[in-house]
């Protein structure tokens, strides 16, 4: 004889049991992944030392506000040109011939180095200018500049 019933007595796990069950589960996971856990601790220690951990923590907690601020700011009209430039710059970079720029920038660097040794009082007369053309270093620079000007005008 069994009449219909619907009351259920749940199995009451004591807090200590639940605690122990959870700990067992965690201990097993730690033991199964020892190497990863140790590396993880190392990583945490490193970013903690540099103060990054606090920053990341705060940022994650305030993610929505942070994103809202950043988005709100970046969407203001004054940034629109910057953002567009950013992307244009990105494409511009793709079109540059880096090898040649490197060649030029080396030359420029040399020039600047020497130029920086100039005294304020130093002057150059017309005669000195003509004479200087005979100096092979100066002549190479002038020729290069003239070729550059020709190329740019094409």
């Amino acid at each position: 004889m069994a009449s219909p019933i619907s009351d259920i007595k749940r199995m009451e796990l004591s807090e200590a049991d639940v605690h122990k069950q959870n700990l067992d589960e965690v201990t097993k996971a730690v033991s199964d992944n020892k190497e990863a856990i140790l590396k993880g601790i190392d990583l945490l220690a490193t970013i903690n030392k540099s103060g990054t951990l606090d920053m990341v923590n705060a940022f994650v907690k305030h993610k929505e506000e942070a994103l809202e601020n950043v988005m709100g700011e970046l969407n203001k009209p004054q940034y629109s040109a910057t953002l567009e430039n950013l992307s244009k710059l990105f494409f511009f970079a793709g079109e540059l011939n880096v090898d040649e720029i490197q060649y030029f920038s080396e030359k420029l660097n040399h020039g600047m180095e020497v130029a920086s040794t100039m005294e304020d009082s130093e002057k150059t007369s017309y005669m000195e200018l003509f004479k200087a053309l005979k100096d092979p270093e100066i002549n190479r620079s002038i020729t290069m500049l003239l070729k550059f000007l020709r190329g740019m005008g094409k």
Binding site: I5, M11, L67, M71, L74, N75, L83, E84, K88
Partner: protein, 983 residues
């Protein structure tokens, strides 16, 4: 196929062979050439709205999807003009749809706009996105529509109008900014939408999306709307061309796969056997996605399969075994519960013999679980007292088919029903009980001229759509079927050739029909002689006839005989052995077919071999090392009686709410109270479980592996999408645990092992193996050892010794009627939204918000006679019991017919009214034969049918999306012509 059947066409200078009349885009897609396409979908065919598939054909720019191949056709897909036209079409799309993929919930690798724009290599759009002046429609609890993201491809309209054929969605092409509208432009929730979700499935982008997906799928999509908007703006500013934008969004989409699992499963509701991918994130079900390759359903689904999964995570789920202790159930560990059950089973067996125990399998559980349950009964206990819920519905159909054609299943596939020239449905509310299958019939009738004749007491949707609708008097289908058959023979219209070659017993059968004259049929059924002659003429006029039937036939005292009469008619007219013909008893539950197939029957071993057949039984005895009783055991109905008679002392019910779904539940639950020991295995504390001594917590389909067999005899695999909740376990594990406690050393590592054993013993499933059933692959039994299956039965003859079918003579006697006291007839059946007693579907708040409880349908004429209005409260009393409920007045029922949805387990549960009468051949309760009297408790009240129920909507039938109306707009220019003008 021979070469002469093919035609030669040239694409970009290369010659190809195509099939005559093949769609050009379809063909190009097989050649590896790329042509952009968005509205085209292989399941839907050409819609011609998106204009992206521009190609040049014989010098003209045309839509490839709107063109069919012809001999010598010259096609070019790459010239500049074509490219420009394609680009123009894509520009029009990006004008309507904002590409903010990274923060879009639809960025899951399958967005067809994203993929097309990327594949085309479009770097920039020529014109900016233009917002549309409409709000997002969030009124439905199932899905939402964002007009701003909608590209008006019309796939949703196409699928609603011509695949689901619910005819709710259309595009209003004439307004300034066209949009998709529901009915006559009402919010989704107020429309005739049945929430089948197919529009969402076919939407190529995020315009239509499941509510559960919104804000859930992406790493950056779950933000407040304002923030999301500014992120979209920033995304667009910072990502200048589509190349970089897609690089970022594709990476993000790939990352999503880390946390969203997509698992193939089989629907757990009706017998159609829909398959789909279920998307889960942790335990949350995000979405159900039917596939083009889903064998039974393709891209189709219904509200339950698409959205009815809340029960899996319902807080009412049982997560620990329970043992009755006084007035409470107490949660215990498995060890204790299993030992206790094994001990009690053994004690009862020792004391009263094996036949004092009974076992009931579940049509919700897998084939493997049915197999194990009958093995537990037959091997570990030693009794044939094993049955399943097909006893409540489909056993009579199986009986009728066994008598005549030899296999207890659908003759063919759902494709065959769709292909028939004429479909007759009898006692089947197909649109609500087998929604996806009904859609195939509705489509064939709407688009391809299929004739639909519907026989039912109730003018449900199929009745309303039918070419001819008949309402024969309850329980008299056998009479009109036999009279029509007799008339056909009398006129000499029978299929002589077929009968001579393939059918036995014609003369004897013909003689048995002598009483079924037109006059007799007219008197008993209420159909006129002209009706009957018309039906006969229409049947012989067509070459391919399929007959579908369901509970309106089987749940009568003459259920088996009526099923037999259907098969007789098909034999006389030669409607077997060919595609597009045959008998289709529409199976009600996901695995009601498989549960019987795999042996949970008192008289059958797996594969329908009789327990009385010594050869078959010996095979199992040898394999299992025991003696099996050689006489059939008790069926469900007999078990309940045996409890009352003191013969059955223990019952183990798996996944069945017998105390609600069996007939005359007062009688059934009274039996439960008399049991010595009662084990119930279920997801929930059901009405039945409340009587149990031990309740074992089981896992639903999403939490286990296995196979289900649908109404087409199609065996399909389900994969595990989630872990069992709490300490619940899959049924097969629980049964195995029990067998092992009873000292039978079962060692199944997984369900595949169980299937291997079943296949090795049952010839019907000889070739069934899991590696032949991977993903969307399926097998329709019989399956030969080499893996060949049988989509169409009887193609080479019937499974009798001489390969001939048998006509089976019948007679008729009206078994039930109303009388002076009980003057009303109660019919009952399903509603679309709920399933069975509702243990699963009522757990969905969304579904319950549409239809929170059952109701009583009353005809307008009866309402007037009794002076009641919508929302009245009435009590119905039969000889067995009473129910109370609220009245819904509708002309779906007529005269003194009432209808109660069977999906209720409260005061309106119909089985308080049903009685102990059964089908004389199978003991299936005659649920459909209830006479009641009605007492009015309150004359009017609030309607039980909510204002947001689809039954109150206003469908807008049309064919397809009517793209011509788009083309007729003044602002429409064909991209091909535009190119010419500009070029």
């Amino acid at each position: 196929m021979h070469n002469q059947d093919h035609i030669l066409i040239t694409i970009n200078g290369e010659e190809f062979l195509a099939e005559p009349d093949q769609n050009l885009l379809d063909f190009i897609n097989t050649t590896g050439e790329f042509v952009p396409q968005i509205c085209y979908n292989e399941s839907l065919g050409p819609i011609q709205t998106c204009d992206t598939c521009m190609v040049e054909v014989d010098g003209q720019i045309v839509r490839a999807c709107g063109t069919y191949v012809s001999p010598g056709m010259q096609v070019n897909t790459t010239i500049d003009q074509v490219n420009t036209a394609q680009k123009e079409a894509l520009d029009r799309i990006t004008e309507k749809h904002e590409l903010y993929c990274t923060v879009c919930d639809y960025n899951n690798g399958s967005c067809e706009i994203h993929n097309t724009v990327a594949a085309f290599g479009m770097e920039e759009q020529s014109r900016p996105f233009e917002s549309k002046p409409y709000d997002v429609d969030q009124s439905s609890p199932f899905y939402r529509y964002d007009p701003d993201q909608c590209i008006l491809c019309g796939r949703c309209v196409e699928v609603c109008q011509d695949v689901q054929v619910n005819e709710t969605l259309l595009i209003d092409w004439e307004r300034e900014k066209p949009r998709v509208v529901w009915d006559n432009d009402v919010p989704i929730d107020q429309s005739s939408c049945v929430s089948c979700g197919q529009c969402v499935t076919v939407c190529p982008c995020n315009a239509l999306m499941e509510t559960e997906m919104v804000g859930e799928t992406g790493y950056m999509t779950n933000h407040s709307p304002g923030l999301l908007r500014s992120m979209i703006d920033l995304t667009k500013k910072a990502e200048p061309g589509y190349g970089p934008l897609f690089a970022v969004s594709d990476t993000e989409a790939a990352m999503r796969e880390e946390r969203i699992e997509k698992t193939k499963t089989v629907c757990t509701y009706c017998g159609v056997g829909c398959t789909f991918d279920v998307w889960t994130k942790d335990r949350k079900v995000l979405k159900v996605e039917p596939q083009h390759d889903s064998p039974a359903n393709g891209i189709s689904s219904c509200i339950k399969g698409k959205f009815g999964w809340d029960y899996v995570n319902a807080e009412e789920r049982l997560t620990k075994p329970l043992i009755r202790d006084g007035e409470s159930f107490v949660e215990v560990e498995w060890d204790q519960a299993l030992s206790y059950v094994a001990k009690r089973f053994s004690e009862i067996k020792d004391e009263n013999g094996a036949d004092a125990l009974g076992f009931i399998s579940s049509s919700k559980a897998t084939n493997e679980e049915s197999y194990l349950m009958q093995k537990l009964a037959r091997q570990a206990i030693g009794t044939n007292n094993i049955d399943n819920c097909s006893r409540y519905c489909q056993s009579p159909a199986t009986k009728g088919l066994f008598r005549t054609v030899g296999h207890g299943g659908d003759s063919g596939s759902i494709d065959d029903i769709a292909e028939a020239e004429m479909v007759i449905t009898i006692g089947s509310n197909t649109t609500e009980s087998h929604p996806v299958l009904a859609s195939r019939i509705k489509r064939s009738q709407k688009l391809f001229g299929q004739k639909l004749y519907v026989f039912d007491l109730r003018k449900h949707e199929m009745g309303q759509r039918a070419d001819q609708f008949f309402q024969p008097k309850s329980g008299t289908d056998l009479v009109w079927l036999s009279a029509v058959t007799k008339y056909i023979i009398d006129q000499g219209w029978e299929n002589r050739t077929f009968i001579n070659k393939w059918v036995n017993g014609f003369e004897e059968y013909k003689e048995s029909l002598s009483t079924f004259t037109l006059e007799y049929a007219e008197k008993l059924t209420g159909l006129t002689k002209d009706d009957l002659i018309g039906i006969a003429k229409q049947i012989v006029r067509v070459d391919k006839l399929a007959i579908c039937w369901a509970m309106g036939v089987t749940q009568h005292q003459l259920g088996s005989d009526t099923s037999t009469a259907i098969s007789n008619l098909l034999l006389i007219t030669g409607n077997y052995m060919r595609n597009g013909t045959g008998a289709y008893p529409l199976r009600g539950h996901n695995n009601v077919q498989g549960c019987s197939d795999f042996g949970s029957m008192p008289n059958f071993l797996p594969g329908y071999e009789e327990v009385e057949d010594d050869t078959a039984r010996n095979r199992y005895e040898n394999a299992w090392g025991v003696k099996i009783p050689n006489k059939p055991g008790k069926d469900n109905h007999e078990m309940i009686k045996a409890i009352h008679d003191g013969e059955l002392h223990s019952l183990y019910v798996l996944g069945e709410d017998t105390g609600i779904v069996d007939a005359n539940i007062n009688y059934v639950t009274a039996a439960f109270e008399k049991l010595d020991f009662f084990v119930v295995q279920d997801l929930f504390l059901t009405e039945t479980a409340k009587y149990a001594d031990v309740i074992l917590p089981a896992a639903p389909s999403l939490e286990k592996e296995g196979t289900f067999t649908n109404t087409e005899r199609r065996i399909q695999r389900l994969y595990k999408a989630l872990d069992p909740l709490g300490d619940s376990r899959p049924d097969w594990e629980i049964i195995m645990n029990l067998a092992n406690r009873l000292d039978y050393n079962w060692k199944y590592a997984n369900p595949a092992d169980i299937m291997d054993e079943a296949a090795s013993l049952a010839p019907l499933f000889a070739g069934v193996r899991y590696d032949r059933l991977t993903q969307y692959n399926s097998l329709q039994w019989p399956v030969h050892a080499d893996g060949t299956d049988t989509p169409l039965l009887y193609a080479d003859g019937f499974p009798f010794d001489d390969h001939k079918a048998r006509l089976y003579p019948l007679d008729f006697e009206l078994k039930h009627d109303t009388n002076e006291t009980y003057d009303l007839h109660v019919n009952n059946g399903r509603v679309l939204e709920h399933f069975h007693e509702g243990n699963m579907t009522y757990k969905s708040t969304a579904i319950s918000s549409k239809i929170p409880n059952a109701f009583i349908e009353v005809s307008p004429e009866l309402a007037e006679e009794r002076g009641i209005n919508e929302g009245a409260k009435v009590r119905l009393t039969s000889e067995s019991g009473e129910v109370t409920g609220l009245v819904h007045i509708t002309d779906r029922v007529r005269g003194k017919e009432l209808f109660i949805p069977l999906n209720d387990n409260g005061k309106t549960a119909v089985n308080y009214l049903t009685n102990n009468n059964v089908d004389k051949d199978t003991n299936t309760p005659s649920y459909k034969e209830i006479a009641v009297k009605m007492d009015v408790l309150k004359q009017k009240g609030k309607s039980p049918l909510k204002s947001n129920n689809y039954r109150r909507g206003n469908p807008q039938p049309q064919i397809g999306v009517q793209v011509e109306r788009k083309w007729d707009r003044e602002d429409y220019i064909f991209p091909g012509s535009q190119v010419k003008q500009n070029g």
